[in-house]
Symmetry: C2
């Protein structure tokens, strides 16, 4: 009994998952995977750590071999075979054997495109000089390792301060190099909102030789010492023995485009909820496709391994006649750099604003990752975004040394199930002194937001501070204020507030600030009940210093 | 303007939270907290770590002083003042000043009972001998520390192998003592299902001198060496210089009972969803009350800090006329012991069975806490319980060295928001090599369960293995089977299965097992499509060995 014939283009992440799922659903299907590289199913998220010798053996990164696919799943994998054309009318692909150059055709009943994305490599002057690398494949990481050994690299420039750029910077520091990071944006980790990225910026700046923000690379030259020189748009010059380009990726859409499939505005292959392209016999998954945000419905690119795997499953289901759907991407991501973890899920202020969504609010909290009375508690800086009328959780970002990914995962689950800030306030999380607090960081963020939604406290936006309309009241203790003042604020410690309300103006709105936003909330409750109009500056001094202290400063821009 | 007068009995956890929340809601209320001990608002979850010198200073445990309550909240705290009677008709309490013995009355508009729970201290022979302690208050921990110093304690017996008992054992080992744990149940951590507790038992057994299960303590004698002897029900005798009784707590219900308030079957004060007792002017919160399970609606006791705090908030809301409700307890808890973390949320097999709920299923998974290709991945043993028809998540338990509390927190959030196993399968969690996997442990558990709910694979219950009805097929590799055989199983490695199906009986059901339950699932898919009746033994060998290897064995009981 001959089954349907499914061809899969690309054997990493989405493609590999799709193939294995197809086999589980259909013992009779004939499944062939084409991969132009040497390897299938390898862990490309591990490549920076292979370069950094944290992962010591390449074999660790190879998750499944062609042999395993054949033995376990009866799936044929053809490495070094590149699909170079699709004849949609006859349902055939044209394949080139990379080594022999031979071209041949294969017919399909269903075709799955999982070609991935290619690193951005701009056509700048000198881009082809030796020693300039991108990092996407296992072969790339081998090349970089060989170059480091061969040239005895001591200085490297990383172009791009996003997740991969910072991971690379950390791993090159680990190998003893002096690192310069060059990033066109005013902040590191552009996925994060600027004030949250500020915590990361400080840490990175303290660990690399140079963190050069707000001025992107623009070209390369051969240096007098036999190395390279990286030139920036503003004319700065940085010497290097190695340059890593980490400027993001672009979907590999050439094959789909040439075949006349719909391509989205961001350059990704357009698919429906079953991962089917504009051709009903062709599906596409992974970094090459354009997907919708789960929360805003907005199309975008989100090259992440988790969604790629799920898309592979959905495509397999769809090919086998099952009604699975990919509900959109949440955008959960995490990055570890120099002992700090930064993570996010859902929407950011940036993505909400660019989607034209305005009915959201923001709270900040700075709790410890476990009870403060147990030694070693580390601060988590957390930002929570929620919808104003009903408290629907829209997104969260967190930065800290411990427990960051845990809190973001909990909020990812909340977003997955359409939870509100009231659920975050109430959810019962693990508490023992070394693991958490009776009020966990997530509860704290939920309470801060729920207080706003319930109308118990109004939020003053930090961006309003510039206007000077409000009377800025700082309720910290006198010695706290002395150590870290807030410009233009009048200090009345919370404990003295009830006895000193006569010092406050009744005709102006009072914006209250403290260290982390809790005492100021208490103060707002006191003042509101005494007939004042009071609003809380969420996150207190600890958010203020992130907003104003860094190169990513917005509120207090000089 | 005189506000309402609210009296609060007990100034720890629920009582303290209630008082502070009351003030935020009502500037005019007169709020008085009575605490018979020396301290209010201290961290009793930290006491074992204070005994173990992990927390070095007592002052660390004092979260808020009476002065802070007065200054910040205008709340009067009377320590060493015990409420000894309630005159409900006249809305008065009778208070005794513990130091002077003076008794006096105070009237209330609203009364909040937060007396906590007292440690179980059975009337066994010798129970009053010196050196036998319970641990509930700061004073208890001081007494134990003093005794250890004064007597130079070298050997201790901990009576009770639950969370507190094991935390105490760990902390006493930390101080260099030789520890015997005596527990009447056949397992440690009786909150967990037996096979999950087995992972903990092994670790504890390797770290203490003696772990004595299935035979409880029954009495104490003075030993010949000036120490103590602990006698068990079966007649064993263990010498000790110190005995810690960690046998759980009982709600402090005397005051409520004497006042004629409704008491539940488990001995806790009965309250409605607003934490109001059977007297409309009296509320009760914390360890003294009986509460419903959020999932089963069953009444029970759940002495946990998180719920106590939330109950305090709800009571304050209710007193101020707000419509908050306490939706019931999830039972999320975590315990760290000898480098291992055990955590649970929601229902267990035990609680579901005792609630008479049968339409649930169980899956086990054993994933790494992060990607296996990154060094240092630690196994998480996880059990997920879900409702059979619709996949509603009912509960989870996990044990491992890293990342356990994170996964349980995610599932706690899922339960909070009524999520299903399909949500667990789909949720997008943090993935970078050092933080997780493209398929996180939670996704893995969700997939294993979703496959069952969708009908893609049937589950064979481990307890059925005894019946011998099924044909037991082990699809691991030959060398894996040689190293750790499963009794009565026929071995055909997965890679050879398609070619060897003729060796399998068509008339019998085939129960498939592998190492962790994944290859056996693949095998089930192969066999089912080839017309066999096949079911998966969830969790594979790694669950088998926990079920059969330990003293908590059920399936393979000798």
């Amino acid at each position: 009994m001959a089954g349907k014939r499914v061809l899969i283009v690309g054997g990493v992440a989405g493609g590999a998952t799709c193939a294995a799922r197809l086999r589980r659903l259909d013992e009779n299907a004939e499944i062939v995977v084409f991969e132009r590289g040497y390897y299938v199913s390898y862990a490309n998220c591990g490549l920076p750590y292979f370069v950094g010798n944290v992962i010591e053996r390449e074999s660790k990164l190879l998750l499944a071999s062609p042999d395993l696919f054949r033995e376990r799943f009866r799936i044929e994998v053809r490495v070094r075979n590149e699909v170079i054309g699709i004849d949609r009318r006859s349902r055939c692909v044209v394949v080139r054997d990379v080594d022999s150059g031979r071209e041949y055709r294969e017919s399909y009943d269903a075709l799955v495109l999982s070609p991935g994305a290619a690193p951005v490599r701009p056509a700048w002057p000198g881009i082809d000089l030796p020693g300039i690398y991108t990092l996407r494949t296992l072969a790339d990481s081998e090349d970089i390792r060989d170059w480091i050994e061969a040239k005895g690299v001591r200085r490297a420039v990383v172009v791009g301060g996003g997740f991969i750029g910072l991971e690379m910077a950390e791993n090159l520091v680990r190998r003893g190099m002096e690192i310069t990071i060059v990033e066109a944006a005013e902040q590191v980790m552009p996925l994060l909102d600027a004030e949250m990225a500020e915590y990361v910026r400080r840490r990175v700046a303290s660990k690399v030789a140079r963190l050069h923000l707000g001025d992107g690379a623009a070209g390369f030259e051969a240096g007098a010492d036999g190395g390279l020189v990286v030139r920036t748009a503003a004319g700065e010059r940085f010497g290097a023995d190695l340059v890593i380009l980490a400027m993001g990726v672009r979907p590999e859409n050439q094959l789909a485009r040439a075949a006349g499939l719909d391509i989205g505005r961001c350059g990704g292959i357009r698919v429906d909820e079953t991962m089917r392209t504009s051709d009903p016999a062709i599906w596409a998954v992974g970094d090459a496709v354009e997907i919708r945000s789960r929360l805003t419905g907005r199309w975008g690119l989100m090259p992440l391994a988790g969604p790629a795997n799920r898309q592979g499953r959905v495509a397999a289901d769809s090919i086998c006649g099952r009604r699975s759907r990919f509900a959109g991407v949440q955008g959960t991501a995490v990055c570890g750099v120099f002992g700090l973890t930064a993570a996010l899920t859902g929407e950011t202020e940036k993505t909400l604003e660019s989607a034209g969504i305005g009915d959201f609010r923001t709270v900040y909290v700075h709790p410890g990752h476990h009870a403060g009375y147990y030694p070693g508690a580390k601060t988590i800086h957390m930002k929570l975004l929620f919808r104003e009328p009903d408290g629907l959780v829209l997104g969260a970002q967190a930065v800290g040394e411990e427990g960051v990914e845990r809190r973001i995962d909990v909020i990812a689950m909340a977003i997955e199930s359409g939870a509100t800030v009231f659920d975050l306030e109430e959810v019962e999380l693990c508490y023992a002194p070394q693991y958490g607090s009776a009020r966990d960081a997530v509860n704290m963020a939920g309470m801060a937001a729920a207080n706003v939604v319930r109308g118990d406290v109004g939020l003053a936006e930090w961006s309003e501070m510039e206007s000077g309309d409000g009377f800025l009241l700082d309720v910290r203790e006198v010695d706290e204020v002395r150590e870290s003042p807030i410009e233009g604020a009048v200090n009345i410690p919370l404990g003295q507030l009830r006895g000193r309300v006569s010092e406050l103006p009744r005709e102006r709105e009072i914006w209250v600030v403290c260290r982390a936003g809790r005492r100021s909330y208490y103060a707002c409750r006191v003042l509101t009940q005494q007939g004042f109009r009071a609003r809380n500056l969420s996150g207190g001094y600890r958010t203020y210093e992130a907003l104003c202290g860094g190169e990513g400063a917005r509120v207090c821009a000089k």
